[in-house]
Each structure stands twice: as C-alpha cells, then as structure tokens.
Amino acid sequence: MTILGEFALWISLPVAVWGMVMGYAGGRTQRGDLVLSAERSIYVVFGLLILASAGVTAAFVGDRFEYLYVASYSNVELEIFYKITGLWAGQRGSLLFWALLLGFFASVCVFTNRKKNREFMPYVAGVLHTIIGFFIVVLLFADVNPFERLDFMPANGQGLNPQLQNYWMTIHPPTLYLGFTSFSVPFAFAVASLLNGRLDARWIQLTRRWILTSWLFLSVGIVFGMRWAYEELGWGGYWFWDPVENASLLPWLTATAFLHSIQIQEHRGMLKVWNMSLVLMTFLLTIFATFLTRSGLIESVHSFAQELRIAYMFLGFMGAVLAVCVVLILYRLPQLRSENQIESFFSRESAFLFNNLMLLGVAFAVAWGTLFPLISEGITGQKISVGPPFFEMVNFPIGLILLTLVGVGPVIAWRRATRRNLQKNFATPVVVGLVTAAVLWIMGARHELALVTFGISAFVLTVLFTEFWKGTRARARIEGEGYVLALFHLVTRNRRRWGGYIVHVGFVMMCIAFAGAAYNIDERFNVQPGDQMEVVSPFGHTYTLTYEGLSMSLGRGQRNLLWQAIATVSVAQDGVPKGILTTEKRQYTNRNTQPMTEVGIRSIVREDLYLILSALNDTDGAIRAESGAQGIDLQVLIKPLVSWIWFGCMMIVFGTVIALWPSVDRTMAAQASTSESETEPALAEAAD
C-alpha cells in the first residue's frame, strides 16, 4: 500500500503538469477537448493524491518505521487515532495533506461547474493544477518526501509529542488547511478573469460561497488553536503572538478585508484593482503560512540554511505568482477602472474602505513584528525582537477602530449619509455605549482600555439589535406575522445580510472576552494538604480553595504507562461548595519523558477558574508515597469572560452558515436579490 502511495505521488506530477498545460491551452484556443482533458486531470490527480495519503496512513498504522516520517511522529504504543492523523502531524505529511485537500476542493469546483461558467473553467483548472503541481514538486524534490526511507530499520519510532496528543490539536491544523486550500478557488477565478478579460464582478459572485467557506474554516481553525493553547499549554492564555500563530492570522486578516471590499465592487463597481490585490495577497499568505508553520525558519535566518531548498522553492513560487499576477493586473488596468467615485466621507463605501485599511494595518503590523527579528538580523547583524507588548500596543487601538466600524458599517447609507441618517441611527447606540462604560466605571471597573472596549461593544450591539428589531417589527406589521415568524422570515429572505450581522455579534462577543483579560487574576500558592486559599474574583465573589491532597499512580494512559500526580482541590464560592477540581502532572514512561501538566478548569459564563499544578515540592518523595511529600505549587487563575471567545466563535459559525445556506428556490432568491435594494429601504421606512 505504501509503495503504491509513493508510486501514485510520482505519477501525479506529470498528470498535474499535463492538466495545467491543457487548461491554459484550452482557454486560449477555446477547444473543448483540451478543456475536458484539463478538468478530468483534476479528478485523476485527486485520486492519485488519495492513494498517496492512504500510503502514508498505511505506513503509520503498520508501524513502518523505516520511513523517516513515520519514525519521527509515531511509535508502536501510539493510539490508533493519532496514527491515522499522523498524516498532518509534521511538515512532510502536512504538505501532502495540503495537496490532497486542494485536490478535493478543485474536484468539487470542477464538478459543480461542469456545465456552466465555461469562459472561466479552462483557466481555473489550469491555475488549480499549477498550485497542486507546485506542492507535488516540493514533496518530491525538496527533501520533504514523506516516503523517504532510512537506511536502517529503527526498533521503534520517536513517538508523538504528548502536547500534540490532544483533541483540539488534532482538528486545528486540518481546519486551518481547509481554509487555506479552499481559498485557492477564488484566487483561481480571479486569475481566470484576468486571463479571459471578463473583469466585472462575475468572478466574485461565482466564488462568494467559496470565499465565505474559506473564511469560516480559517476563523474556526484559529479559534481551535486558541482553545488548544488554553487547555494544553497550561499557562492560561490563548494567544501568544507566536510567529506560527501570527502566520495563520495574516491570511485571515486579508481575507476579512476582501470579504468586505468585494461588497463595494458588487454594489458600486469600485475597487477592482484593490480586490484583485487582496485576493492575490490572501492566496500568497496562505502559502506563506503553510510554509512558515511547519518550518523553523522564523527563529533565525540561520535555520534558512537547513531548509534552503524548500525555502527557495516556496519563495520562488510566491515570487513567480506575484510577478505574473502584477503583470496581468497592469495589462488589464484599463478594464479595471472604477465605475464610480466615492462621494462622501460619511458613506458606507467609506466605512468599508476604512475597515479594509485597518485590517491591512493590523496585518502589516503583525507581519512586521513577526519578521522584524529576521529583518534586523539581516540588515544590522544585531537580532532585535519584539514580543506580545508590541503587538498589543499596535493592534489594540486599531482593533478598537475596527470594532467601532462594525457598528457604523451596517446602518450608514451608501454613497452619502445625511445628517438625519447619522442622527437617527447612531444617537441611541452612542448613548447606550457611554452609559454602559459609565455604569461599569461606577461598579468599580477601572481598566481604561477594557472600559472603552465594553462601551464600544455596547454601541455596536445596540446598532445590530436595533436593526433586527426594526426589520422584525416592520415585517410583523406589514405581513401581519407574529414576531418570531417575522424574524425568521426576515433572516431567511436576506441571509447574507442578517447572517453577516450575526457574525458581527460573534466578533463583538470575542472582543468583550479579549477585554475581560484585563481583569485576569493570577495567584501562586505553596500548599500542604488541608491548606486553604482565598481568591477574590473581579466580579466580587470569593473562591475558597482547599487543597485536599496529592495522589500518585502509575496508570495506563492510552497505551503507554504514565505517572500521574493528581492534586485534588475542593472549591467553594462564597462559602457554597461547588465540587472539586483536579490538576495533574503526568509523564509517560516511554521515550517521550517530557512531563505534561493537565490543568483543572471550572468554566461558568462569566469566568473560568483555572488551576495549574506548577510543581511538586518533592517528586521522589511523592512517588514513594511519603506522607510528608505532598506539598505543591499551585497557580490559581481567574479568567473573566474567557468562554465568550468560544461562544462568539459558535455565533460566527452560526451566522456564516446562515449566509451560506443554499436558497430553497433559486429563482425566487434571484428575484429577491434583485428587488432587495428596493424592499429593504421600504422596510426601513416602514419601521420609522
């Protein structure tokens, strides 16, 4: 099976090259047979990549440690679940997995468009083949072949790092990769429109669902990674501005900007070059993130030397794509002229434009901060690095402006907002925002940045709920429906708009959660059994924690023996018992002897109580179960509002799914979307 997989990977390269040539040639000559061949090649490449991936998985499941990749990420004892997911545990497999997912999306794209959009499809197939082909070339020729064999047969593999043996870590990379790869489709359509000269908003309309899907996977993938860090890394945080995290954030930022700016092109025929640039930038950043996350590059320019070939290949590919696209955009520049001009500073176009600038500003700052050590080392020889304080200093102010725009965008008028439009829509929300901040201040919240965030969040939420309320009430009045039914119909009649608002509510919830971190409590104790600790929550109540004792055991974790030192703590909130929490240190007895901490989390809507067993006073004594060796270091964190991140993420998923949901009746939906611009203001007027 593994041999077959390796064989399939080699065969896939000429097929992809063939498909690429046929795609471009078919588009140029308009010959249907060439186009058909290009499209069928996509299916063939996808099939071959399935075989190759199955080959890697078979090597994992069969404990074939003569393969370097398997030996590096698995061992005999590893649970079968992690053997199967070993395909994306490391760089080699991840690159194959990337190609596999892109093969899947390319096949879906070709299949759903087999009878339509013929003017785009030849080039789309050509571009997709090019990208897949590039990844196959990297796999085969950049020293990252997952089928590379050792010249000896190890008795056992290295095993998987225990920190990676976590549910969230297993689904986090594939979710991100789904986002990365599905973005290749809108990119392919953009390039196709540059090649075939159909430069209106058609390519955007055709790929709107792809863009949203990709954005959804990116967002959820990033949040999964935060969740993993929060549960597994054991320091109570979820974001460290680590280069790897930043790399996944960059394409999300530009994709978010793109998602907004395409609406200006659809409505007003503006920003065509800008949208082309954004789609290109986002695509390049997905490639960059793929490259960066699985290489050691960022630590120093010196690690470049170890990864010279793959680094040059990736940079070469990105450079070539950039060059070709810039030339194409310049060539088509006359046709990419704006059909309209921005008429006023106070208009929705303007709000969206500022949203774009802010997102790109954040992206630029994040990229700069991430690459700064490399740049300074390259130029001055002196390595200078910036840490989380830099990212917070720059991104918090920009983030607050973005948050404000979330409230401004939906209700400010297109083209030119009148004073009446502004007063009518913003007077109440602004007051609500100010009152919220004032009330929180009176209640004792003193952190300025958090107060500003809460105030702006209240403003935005008021705007959004007012929109829902007005729409529902107008519909209830006009159609004579009950409020629940009216709300349902309101949302289903214009899913994009209302789904988008729900996504924004989710985003605001996450911002509230981020601001809540300003009130984090962090206390450390060295305790003996029976000791009590008191920790006061920022919400005013007091946790009384009693350290009950330590239990040591040599247990069977998964399939490995492991030492577990479990500290039990009983929790009382204002004197009311709230059960027990455990936190433990564990250490596998096989080759991966690095200890791990399992934290204890008690999560309620307003805050998490987070316990970390930092260290044992006397590990050897504890293992011998000596009664005097039960002292521990316990770190107690209170993390206000942290679960709002996960709720906000669910809200974002919910809203995006609404926006994506296929219409039941396509013709009806088509009519609705053309008449939407007339009925919506009518509803709005009726609401007053």
Binding site: F65, L68, V244, G296, P373, Q382, Q594
Partner: protein, 143 residues
Amino acid sequence: MNKNGRFMVGLVGVAGVVTYLIWTGISETMVYYVTPVELLQRVAADPTFHEVGVRVGAQVIPGTYSRVEGELLHVFTVRDLVDQEITFVVEYRDALPDTFTDEIEVVLEGRMRADGVFEATTLLTKCGSRYEAAPEDLPGYVG
C-alpha cells in the same frame, strides 16, 4: 480639492497613524537578542547595559538546576551555545514550563544584574513547531 484628493489625505492619515504605532511600538518594546558571549562583552564594556532588557538564547548546564525551598525561585547555570566556557547563573521566579529540563536550550528574557546573576522574567524552551526526530535519536541507529 476634489473628492478623491480629500480621500487620499484620509488614507495617508491612516497609513501615518499605523506607521507611528508600529514605530513607537517597536522602539518601546524591542529587546536585543544576544548570545551569552555578546551579553557578557556588552556588560563589561558598558555598565549601563545592566539595566537593558535582553533576550538570550543559552543552554542549561546539566546538574546545575536547584530550587529555593519554599519559594517559587529557580536557580540554574547556562552556557553559550558555542563557547562552552562562557557561563552565568540565572534566577527565575515563576512556574517553569513542562518542557524545561536541566539540559535544554532556553530563551531567557530579563536583565543581567550588577552582581553577574541574570534575572529572567520569561523563560521559553526551544522546541519549535516541528517536534521532529533526528535519525540519530531513533533506537537502532547505526550511523
């Protein structure tokens, strides 16, 4: 001034603010990334460097780790990654990451006190995102 011109002013303004934020952000939060050799040279040449926050990549010397009883204070000695002769003592007052062992490569942030002890405020262990084995580490390696 026409509409587009006024808009350009707005755009330039936004770009300017972002640049300003990045500029001040970097100058206020940057730390020098040095090797132990460089750190000791700098401190010897310029005593004010004791006050400067730095980031040092170094190797923990096996067997030097100890913990002050009853306190959350860890003490260990590190050496330069290349020049084994260059060493200094590190004090760190916080919970150590799980990946810490007394033979690991660490990245320390903090400052070198006048008494020659490095007071670390953060400690990161180097493992990167690859988590990949070198062939030499595998059982049965024949070289």
